[in-house]
């Protein structure tokens, strides 16, 4: 019990500090992609930039717009962080160890991912601002739609490994093969599908129409000031970091790796996926709302159904055994 609690505390601290680092990392990466330098003057190579941002956000005046639903307005930003962090509890850190080991880990992780949309809708509704409301509406529509291919993609490793326990999936990959690499037909496309759906779930480019600046000012966060905005901002990164970790657990073998299996492999894989996500973010343009839905319902969902069928077929061959 004490071990689980301290592990949970450690995970929260690690995820939050990794998120702070991710803020810096993303800005540096984006700058490099645009032949800029990025944060440079605040601490060595700009490493303290997130600290300065945080210190500033804490000092800003908290404004609640007239006509806003005060309770929901205040509650939504912390909740976004909590729900985003909750999914981190199920990530197996090294063989047999996770903050929460559950037989239905995959289901819970996806469930928390979907739950993260509730505070977004709360924020959009409570802000009493048309841009916030429109942004929230888009975010929820998008999240519900992309939940379907996300679940279908997550079904592939579940069927292949024969378990919904995230640690069980990793164990299976450690003893057999990483699902992102083999079987190449349901595995690799399912991995790509998972990444796409996860990007859409966390509202990142190219799926960031909920905060399209040219149309919606700042989307859901339009009315949030100071640390309230900081929470939403943070949650977005936590979501991406945790999503990258889940992706590497389900498709890239998690803690499994050559030489010594352990946490370092998970962190390395997460970092790679994270970089890939930001590479996409700073390279592609955003999709239009109708293109987004077309992509989801006409292409990704049928593809996901096909992949589920194929992975069941693969299981029947018995080649994995």
């Amino acid at each position: 019990m004490i071990f689980a609690a301290s592990l949970a505390a450690a995970v929260v601290i690690v995820v939050l500090s990794a998120t702070a680092l991710a803020l810096w990392y993303e800005r540096k990466l984006a700058a490099r992609m645009q032949t800029r330098i990025g944060p440079q003057f605040v601490g060595p190579i700009g490493l303290f930039q997130p600290v300065a941002d945080l210190l500033k956000l804490v000092q800003k005046e908290e404004i609640v717009p007239m006509g806003a639903d005060r309770v929901l307005f205040a509650l939504a930003p912390p909740l976004t962080v909590i729900f985003a962090l909750a999914a981190a509890a199920f990530v197996p850190l090294w063989p047999g160890v996770a903050v929460v080991r559950s037989d239905v880990g995959v289901l819970l992780v996806i469930g928390f991912g979907g739950l993260a949309m509730v505070p977004v809708w709360m924020a959009g509704w409570a802000s009493f601002n048309k841009y916030a409301l429109l942004g929230a509406m888009r975010a929820v529509a998008q999240s519900i739609s992309y939940g379907v291919p996300l679940v279908l993609a997550a079904m592939v490793p579940v069927i292949l490994a024969g378990t919904m326990d995230l640690d069980g999936i990793t164990q299976f990959q450690a003893t057999h093969h990483w699902f992102g690499l083999w079987p190449i037909i349901p595995g690799l496309p399912a991995f790509i599908l998972f990444l796409l759906a996860m990007l859409a779930e966390s509202n990142r480019i190219p799926f960031d129409i909920p905060e399209a600046e040219s149309e919606l000012v700042a989307g859901v966060t339009t009315e949030y000031t100071g640390m309230q905005f900081g929470f939403v901002y943070l949650a977005e990164y936590v979501h991406t970091v945790v999503g990258a970790a889940i992706g590497s657990v389900m498709f890239l073998g998690g803690w499994d790796g050559p030489f010594a299996p352990g946490l370092h492999w998970l962190l390395l894989k997460t970092l790679c996926l994270f970089t890939f996500i930001y590479w996409i973010r700073w390279t592609l343009v955003r999709l239009r709302a109708d293109q987004l839905m077309t992509l989801c319902w006409k292409w990704l969902v049928p593809a996901g159904l096909g992949l589920v069928f194929l992975s069941a077929a693969w299981n029947q061959t018995g080649w994995s055994r």
Partner: protein
């Protein structure tokens, strides 16, 4: 004159606790250093970019200067911004919006006036719709001069702002300095402006004639007359009007004069009939309505000249242009019932010149703000103190 704000008194509640608790007040100085360090290094900019300075503002976030090096990024929402960079000319109609966005920013906040238009209005200063400097309605912390200032200058401005933030103690903002009295510093223009009562009576007329000669239809081969200072029309000019229109006007509307450098004058009561006839003849596209004001002189009363243009659609396009002259206090029949395209254009002429159009469905101001007094393009418009009280 400049509006000077009371020093704003927002400071973080943490200071309240620290200053009121004995023993904790020792921590105020280190806290000041810590918090100002945070404020200094995360200046998020709200880009209030209205014109060419905005391009330099964008450039300063891009590769060569890269404001992100000092932790400065652009935020689209005023709620998450710390610095409003006003880059560009601010008009009277825009000023309340700028002020509102400024009010929506959370404290602590700062303002940078980027470029000479934002600082003083620069050479648009004497125009009727331009605010002479944004510090007439919001407190400015740093002025970045230039037209436009280059990105390096903006970065320098941000660094000066950082210095200023570093000076603040106990969370209290350093108040912005009252601006110098520009009116006393700026030399009045040597030439009297159009609104000047002492202006020579024929000057307006000459200027108008010169403007007409610039019209390519009126006079090919304009020659410059250096003595008079205005271009004079060449003597041999081809008739600009199309013969169809000339015949129509002569036979059915009793027009006898067809001047070379101006559209033929049609009386106001026959104007609508003419437009309807032309529309039936195939002139189906509404081109323009342009009005000008002719102040009273000996021999003529206070007039508004309203010129209309129609065009045929398709190959071999023909244009029909005529004008209506009415005393300023009388109405011109509106063409909106015939041409929907006339709607906003007639509103514009009403707004700027003050021509009243009878039968217009929605005759409101379109360019100036609703509470604007007078019509700014009238020759007798008092362009100075009366209609622009901030000057």
């Amino acid at each position: 004159m400049a509006v000077i704000e009371e020093p704003r008194s927002y400071f973080h509640p943490l200071y309240d606790v620290m200053l009121s608790t004995p023993g904790l007040s020792v921590g105020v100085a280190p806290l000041d250093r810590l918090l100002t360090w945070g404020l200094k290094n995360a200046l998020w900019v709200f880009p209030m970019a209205t014109s060419c300075c905005g391009i330099e503002l964008m450039a300063s976030a891009a590769a060569r200067v890269d404001l992100d090096r000092m932790g400065t990024i652009m935020r689209a929402s005023p709620r998450q911004s710390d610095v409003m960079v006003v880059a560009g000319t601010i008009t009277v109609k825009m000023a309340p919006r700028v002020r509102r966005l400024w009010d929506q920013m959370p404290e602590p906040k700062w303002c940078i006036a980027m470029g000479s238009c934002a600082i003083s209005g620069d050479f648009y200063r004497n125009l009727y719709p331009v605010v002479p400097g944004i510090d007439t309605f919001i407190p400015v912390d740093v002025y970045v001069p230039g037209c436009p200032p280059n990105p390096e200058a903006l970065m320098h401005g941000l660094m000066r702002l950082q210095e200023k933030i570093g000076l603040q103690r106990e969370g209290k903002l350093v108040p912005s300095e009252p601006r110098p009295d520009f009116d006393a510093m700026v030399r009045p223009p040597a030439l009297s402006r159009i609104g000047d009562a002492a202006r020579a009576a024929d000057l307006s007329d000459r200027q108008e004639q010169a403007a007409l000669t610039m019209c390519p239809d009126a006079a090919p081969g304009v020659v410059e007359d250096e003595e008079k200072g205005f271009a004079q029309p060449a003597t041999q000019a081809t008739p600009p009007l199309n013969t169809e229109l000339v015949e129509l006007l002569r036979d059915r509307f009793g027009v006898t004069e067809f001047p070379l450098n101006a559209p033929p004058v049609v009386s106001a009561d026959k104007h609508l009939e003419l437009a309807a006839t032309l529309q039936k003849m195939g002139y189906r596209q509404f081109l323009f309505v342009a009005a000008s004001h002719r102040p009273a002189k000996e021999g003529s009363e206070d007039l508004c000249e309203v010129a209309y243009g129609l065009r045929t659609v398709g190959a071999g396009t023909k244009e029909a242009i005529w004008q209506v002259r009415v005393p300023t206090n009388q109405t011109v029949p509106s063409l909106v019932p015939l041409f929907a395209g006339a709607d906003w254009q007639e509103r514009e002429q009403y707004d700027l010149v003050g021509v009243k159009f009878a039968g217009h469905p929605d005759l409101r101001r379109i360019m100036m703000s609703d509470d604007w007094v007078g019509h700014p393009l009238r020759r007798d418009y008092p362009a100075d103190k009366e209609c622009a009280p901030w000057r």
